[in-house]
């Protein structure tokens, strides 16, 4: 197994780990609420209970630091290899966007140059950076925390 060294300096930019967390938790059916500064997340893992956390991504695993603690814990050994039914593919001429064809939306989860990306299994479109975030935010139960 790869050894993991966690340092504050290893934190990727907010966009990257937010994407990774969204993917990981989406795969587990979790509800995700994130704050606007990008570095802190509120993860509502079950209704009524909430957990404040900051996170670091070590590719390909996911490390999370809970609020009020200096300890990091590994919450996902790996990013999920594939996610199904997450969101519409951004490519309008993808077969999965033809409403009558009933092709299940499926995406491969990739890490490219230290960033999380997804690829539509059907049309091959790579979804990266802002496009990925837009797509995830539009489809997950994600809200900005204004408290």
């Amino acid at each position: 197994m790869t050894s993991i060294r966690v340092e504050e300096g290893f934190l990727l930019g907010p966009l990257e780990y937010r994407d990774a967390l969204l993917l990981a938790f989406a795969a587990n059916g979790a509800q995700v609420v994130f704050m606007d500064d990008g570095y802190y997340l509120v993860l509502q893992d079950k209704p009524g209970g909430s957990l404040l956390a900051s996170a670091a991504v070590l590719n390909p695993g996911i490390i999370l630091r809970r609020a009020g603690s200096n300890a990091y814990e590994r919450v996902a050994e790996n990013l999920p290899g594939e996610i199904e039914g997450l969101a519409p593919c951004p490519n309008p001429t993808c077969i999965t966007n033809q409403p009558r064809e009933k092709a299940a939306r499926r995406f491969r989860v990739l890490v490219m140059e230290g960033r999380v990306a997804m690829q539509c299994v059907y049309c091959g479109t790579l979804i990266m950076r802002d496009d990925l975030r837009r797509m995830l935010a539009a489809s997950l139960r994600v809200e900005a925390d204004h408290s």
């Binding site: 001429t93 092709a103 299994v121 059907y122 091959g124």
Partner: protein, 304 residues
């Protein structure tokens, strides 16, 4: 190895499988027989095609198989609103192998998920055209003796052209010296294509001008740059000369190069090249028959 397999992307095949295909194709040159007698190949062309459809039809018939099918969505029940899935279910019950072309990316994969019989992708939107890539690679090997260690220029609309993308994917299965990706900035190869090049450690260079790189190239793969893809006619007029293969360019290259083109061409290849040793595109078109014969027979699991 290919028996019963779906062929959706050239990336689904290994180098060994491609080499087996090529050696079978070699034996198929000039072959006529009945090894697929009793087989039915469905040619489901939801998008118009002349070359690909006719060459699949010839290939099937030269092996003794029969063909059924249609050559445009208008002529079928699709026009009456039938889904692709339902059409594929029907064809699956009528035929032993389904060849499918469709304007939407991912259509062939969807068909393969539905059909029990093997599905061959005859082109899905801008994404894949695996049998064209097989023909292109076979042509290079046939003329140059090898696909490895040669330098390639893939020229034209690399963003929307499925033949160009599939050829690039196919090259990553081998050990090309370098691939020059020659296109206008707005029509560069898609990120997923670049990703495969990087992941497989293939040396490549993106450039806008064929003349700048021609002196380092063994294989020129020309494709069409369509006017409709540009924002304005002026923009098109400005760049089109950079994506034209002329006799002068070939002669001044100082290379023993060959020119490929998936055809049909418009004016991106100087017709004066046709009768020269540079022109490989007619041989390439003719290679469509033995390569597709080889693919059908390997998928059927019947050897000549």
């Amino acid at each position: 190895m290919l028996k019963g397999r779906d062929i959706i992307s050239i990336l689904d095949l290994s180098r060994e499988e491609l080499e087996e295909l090529f050696s079978t194709a070699r034996r198929m040159e000039g072959y006529r027989g009945r090894i697929l007698e009793g087989w039915i190949v469905a040619l489901a062309f939801f998008e118009p095609s002349t070359r690909t459809r006719l060459s699949f039809e010839s290939a099937a018939k030269r092996l003794g198989a029969s063909t059924i099918g249609f050559s445009s969505a208008e002529s079928t029940s699709i026009a009456k609103g039938e889904t692709l899935s339902d059409t594929v279910r029907m064809l699956d019950s009528y035929a032993d192998i389904i060849v499918l072309r469709h304007r939407y990316e991912g259509a062939a994969l969807l068909a393969a998920n539905i059909a029990r019989h093997p599905v061959i992708n005859g082109g899905d939107g801008r994404q894949h055209h695996p049998t064209q890539a097989m023909i292109d690679l076979y042509t290079v090997e046939r003329i140059k003796g090898s696909i490895d260690d040669l330098n390639y220029a893939v020229v034209g609309d690399l963003k929307h052209g499925r033949a160009a993308s599939s050829f690039i994917y196919g090259l990553t299965m081998f050990k090309p010296g370098r691939i020059y990706l020659v296109s206008p900035p707005s029509l560069r190869a898609r990120p997923e294509v670049i990703r495969v090049l990087r992941e497989r450690g293939v040396r490549y260079t993106e450039t806008q001008s064929l003349s700048e790189v021609i002196g380092d190239v063994d294989i020129v793969y020309m494709t069409r740059v369509q006017k409709e893809r540009f924002r304005s006619l002026r923009e098109y007029e400005e760049v089109k000369g950079s994506y034209k293969m002329t006799l002068e360019l070939a002669e001044n290259s100082g290379r023993d190069l060959i020119v490929l083109h998936p055809l049909p061409r418009v004016d991106e290849i100087d017709q004066r090249l046709d009768e020269t040793r540079y022109a490989a595109y007619f041989q390439q078109a003719a290679n469509g028959i033995p390569v597709r014969m080889a693919l059908l027979s390997l998928i059927a699991g019947v050897e000549p």
